[in-house]
């Protein structure tokens, strides 16, 4: 765990240096592009935490091990923080580049649904006192909420016009980003993922 702490610390310092001093302003986005290196890793973790919440929930239902429930609940708590940070940084980026904090872009819609799911899950968790019952009921809800994923990924984006930049790997299958930006972004995603693992495994129930 000590090694992980050091790894995250060093990676974060390198990342801040790259974002503030090395990455050039992007065409059409200017200096606002620096937000992307914080926003994308947060959005990535919000989604990872959502699936991990469901995964640990399924593992709990299979093994009835309270450690799995702890990981599921902790993942949802972390996911809620990440999704709020992704939403806030995305809104600032949206205001700077498109002139409005919120414009019902498909990805903004998806992130809002994710906030509602995390909020509902955590509310349900806080409303049940019995530990075993809470673990069982919340695991079922987190798995059931996963059923919305195909709709959020494949159908909802067709309903709304999007101003959002292309994903990292665009529809043509190529990476449309300068190498230094790409490297910084991947480093940011790695740093954030390690931070998630550290926070997930570093709680009281370790």
């Amino acid at each position: 765990m000590k090694l992980l702490n050091w790894g995250i610390g060093i990676l974060t310092v390198i990342l801040i240096y790259l974002v503030m001093f090395v990455v050039p302003p992007a065409k059409g986005m200017g200096e606002a592009v620096r937000i992307v290196f914080f926003h994308v890793p947060m959005a990535w973790l919000a989604v990872v935490a959502f699936f991990m919440n469901a995964y640990w929930g399924a593992m709990y239902l299979k093994a009835k091990d309270m450690r799995k429930d702890y990981l599921s609940g902790k993942s949802a708590q972390l996911g809620m923080v990440f999704v709020l940070l992704a939403c806030a940084s995305g809104a600032v980026f949206s205001k700077l580049t498109w002139g409005a904090y919120w414009n019902w872009d498909p990805r903004q819609t998806t992130i809002l649904v994710l906030i509602l799911i995390y909020g509902a899950y955590l509310t349900l968790r806080s409303a049940i006192n019995d530990e075993q019952k809470r673990a069982r009921i919340t695991a079922v809800y987190s798995l059931f909420s996963c059923l919305t994923v195909p709709f959020l990924v494949f159908i909802i984006p067709r309903l709304y016009f999007s101003l959002h930049p292309s994903p990292l790997i665009n529809s043509g299958g190529s990476v449309d980003m300068e190498p230094v930006m790409l490297m910084t972004l991947l480093l940011g995603v790695l740093d954030a993922t390690l931070l998630y693992v550290r926070l997930l495994l570093g709680g009281k129930n370790e």
């Binding site: 509602l116 799911i117 409303a127 049940i128 695991a139 079922v140 709709f151 909802i156």
Partner: protein
């Protein structure tokens, strides 16, 4: 075995119908809730006609809150009446789920079909194709019913009263809600009707019913 299972499902469905007919308050409360919401919107607008997208959105918001006002009762009423234990002894999880889901689907479809003409009249809506409109209403109601039956069983486990049902429901039924609003707005004149989205609503109905079935045994 198969026939005994379907018998039990039908018996639970009939029991729900009989209970609803005997105690009409739940049906009337739900109906009057819907009427009140529609009347409220109509009073607020005072005869102003909205554009199709807005009409469809308000219609589905009214239906959503109507569904929320009565959906939780499917299990909460059993707990309140003290009959949940008897139901557990009599029925296996799958029979109880499918019986109640079937009842919920019929109940919500009837509610949607009863409230729709009222809304059309008060809001002065033009519907291009009544058959497709009824199909969208029923497909949407089935989606809400299939998710709602499982979520109602989860919400009775929580100790925080009625509010939690709507909180748990909204994120899981958002796909069907958004698609139903889109399809209804198209039928009210905002563009051509896109059949593939009706297919998506039916797909949601199927996967939410199957998902509920797979998970319900862990709740029961």
């Amino acid at each position: 075995m198969k026939s005994s299972s379907s018998n039990k499902i039908m018996q639970i469905f009939q029991k729900e119908i009989k209970c609803a007919l005997r105690n009409k308050s739940s049906f009337l409360t739900c109906l009057m809730f819907g009427v009140t919401v529609i009347a409220c919107v109509s009073f607020a607008l005072q005869g102003n006609v909205l554009e199709a997208k807005m009409q469809a959105s308000i219609f589905w918001i009214a239906l959503f809150f109507t569904f929320m006002s009565c959906g939780e009762g499917i299990f909460a009423d059993e707990v309140k009446a003290g009959t949940i234990l008897a139901l557990r002894i009599y029925g296996d999880g799958q029979s109880v789920l499918w019986g109640k889901m079937l009842y919920n689907a019929v109940f919500l479809s009837v509610m949607a079909v009863v409230l729709a003409p009222l809304y059309i009249m008060f809001m002065d809506c033009d519907i291009n194709n009544l058959f497709l409109f009824a199909l969208v209403l029923i497909a949407g109601a089935i989606g809400v019913a299939s998710s709602g039956t499982l979520v109602a069983s989860l919400s009775v486990s929580a100790n925080s009263g009625k509010g939690i049902f709507a909180i748990l429901m909204l994120p899981v039924i958002l796909p069907v809600l958004l698609l139903s609003v889109l399809l209804t707005s198209q039928l009210m004149g905002a563009g051509d009707f896109e059949m593939q989205y009706l297919g998506a609503v039916i797909f949601y109905d199927v996967i939410s019913a199957v998902g509920a079935s797979v998970l319900f045994d862990y709740v029961w």
